[in-house]
Each structure stands twice: as C-alpha cells, then as structure tokens.
Symmetry: C2
Subunit: 166 residues, 2 copies
C-alpha cells in the first residue's frame, strides 16, 4: 500500500482489506499504522556485509553501489519517501527512522575505521562526517534533485571524499 | 494543510474549507492539488542573493547557513517532505521538484564558478559535484538521519569539500 499509494493510502483499514484480514487481526500485531510502517521498512532492508578487498576505496565503492541498486528498486525508496513525510509529524517514527539510518551507515563506518587503523586513511579522518559526505549525495539525487545516479558518480564521490582528508 | 497534516490531509476539499472558499473557486486557480502544491512550495522559498566577500569559503558558508535556517523553520521542510512522497507517484511533481532544486542550487554554483575563474579554486574542480557534496549532508541530516545540524557542521563540510580538489 505504501509502495503504490504512499502515505495517503496507508491506513489500517486499507491494509487489512488488501491482506484479506480483519482490522482486529491487524491491530493484534501492530498497535498503530506507524508500528506497521516501521516493520514494513525494516523488511525491505538487510544490512550489507562489509567487503574486505584490502582497498578501502573499493570496499566503500562496493557498499555504495549496492545501496544505489536498493534506491533504484521498489519498494525501498517509496517506503523511505513515505517515512520522510510521516516522520515530520510523528516523533516516534523520526526516532525509529534515525535508528534504521544508523544501522544502514554501520558497514561504511566499519570499513572507514578499519582502513584508518590500518594506515590506509589518515588518522585525522572523521568517519562520521566522511560517511555523511559519501552517502548523502545518493539520497539527494534520488529524492531531492530527481536525477539519475550514473555509475561513475560513486567512484567520483569516493575519490573526492576520501581524498578530502589528505 | 501540508505543514500541519502532510500529504494525507492535503485535499482540495480540506484546503477550500480552511480558506473559507468553495472548491469551485480553488479549481479555477489550480486544476489539481499537485499544481497547488507546487505554488505553495514556491511561495516558501526565495533564492538567496550570492554573497561576495572575496573568500569563497565564506560565501559558500553563508549560503549554507541561510539554508540551514530555512530547514529549521516551518513550513519549508514539511512541504519538502510532503513533496518527496508525492513525487514518487507523480512524474509531473518530480519534474517540478527537480526545477525548484536547480533554482535552489544556483547561488552556490555561481559562487564556485566565480571563485574557480578568479583562481581561488583549482580549475579542475567540478562545480556540480561540489554543490552536491556541499548541500546534500544538510538534507540528509534533516530528513534521513533526523539529527541536529550543529553550526560547526557547515564549516567542516565547506573546508573538506572545497579541499577535496586541491
């Protein structure tokens, strides 16, 4: 329902009808449509395993490329878009979305921290800021600028961002 | 209505009722709720004038700081959030949102291009990619990570991104 109709069509009644279940059954599993939304979002996202090619640029590029593929398939981006609007008026959803975002960032943070400890990246590199700079252009293109994400963009972003602390 | 209730509450009927006007009057000015949404969005955003302090870092930091203030006030961010969800299922809205984004980017592109021509930035700097890297972390923090934007973030982002082409 979120994928096809966005937030306006995502009511417990519409979901129950589509599932061929009663509203009472739905409410037994999820007390609110927000709780159902969080579980739907969670089901579309598996954290990526952290690659270990020995080259941090390659590891990070592989993680970002996998993320671009996720952004180009439904239902993940449509659920994320609905979440963005819903979180504006529901602080619980905003907190849950912040948690999901933290889990999604984790593999990149691990790759950067490992490379910093191994001397592949300078010790003054800030992994959190670098992760912001690496991932945010992908969200921005997909949801704000509505521009395609060419395959070269990932390599350009990785080269510039990891080079920014040299 | 968008600010208070998001996309689910943004119907021509609800807007007419709130405005104390008839639906017929509303439809005379805007053929669809999408057209009304675009005008509402447009009304919350004035392009910033391009500062010219003689230091590109300062010019860009001023533009980003003004943008952070816009993200921290309603109604702009709530309208943007509703737009993000609506654009998923309405290609016309996606195109219009892409146009608004281009207008919003323009002052930063102007500041970067001017500094590149004046020799303050290296000639191989890509102003479009630099603008993506400068602006996208702000959207990301506000709408995806749901984290505050500390004042130091703008200066950190400007220093790292403009330094990435050295």
């Amino acid at each position: 329902m979120l994928d096809e109709h966005g937030l306006p069509g995502f009511t417990m009644e519409a979901v129950a009808r589509r599932a061929g279940a009663s509203k009472a059954t739905l409410y037994r599993h999820w007390p609110t449509s927000g709780a159902l939304m969080v579980d739907a979002m969670d089901a579309t996202f598996e954290p990526f395993p952290v690659p270990d090619t020995g080259h941090v640029q390659t590891d990070v590029a592989q993680l970002l490329t996998a993320f671009v593929a996720l952004l180009e398939e439904t239902p993940f981006p449509r659920l994320l878009a609905a979440f963005i609007d819903a979180a504006e008026r529901d602080p619980t959803l905003a907190t849950l979305h912040a948690d999901l975002t933290r889990r999604r960032r984790e593999p990149i943070l691990v790759a950067l921290t490992r490379a910093r400890e191994g001397g592949q990246l300078p010790s003054h590199l800030d992994p959190e800021l670098a992760t912001d700079l690496l991932t945010s252009p992908l969200f921005y293109r997909r949801f704000i600028a509505h521009q395609p994400i060419p395959p070269s963009l990932v390599n350009d972003v990785v080269a510039r961002v990891l080079g920014a602390w040299r």
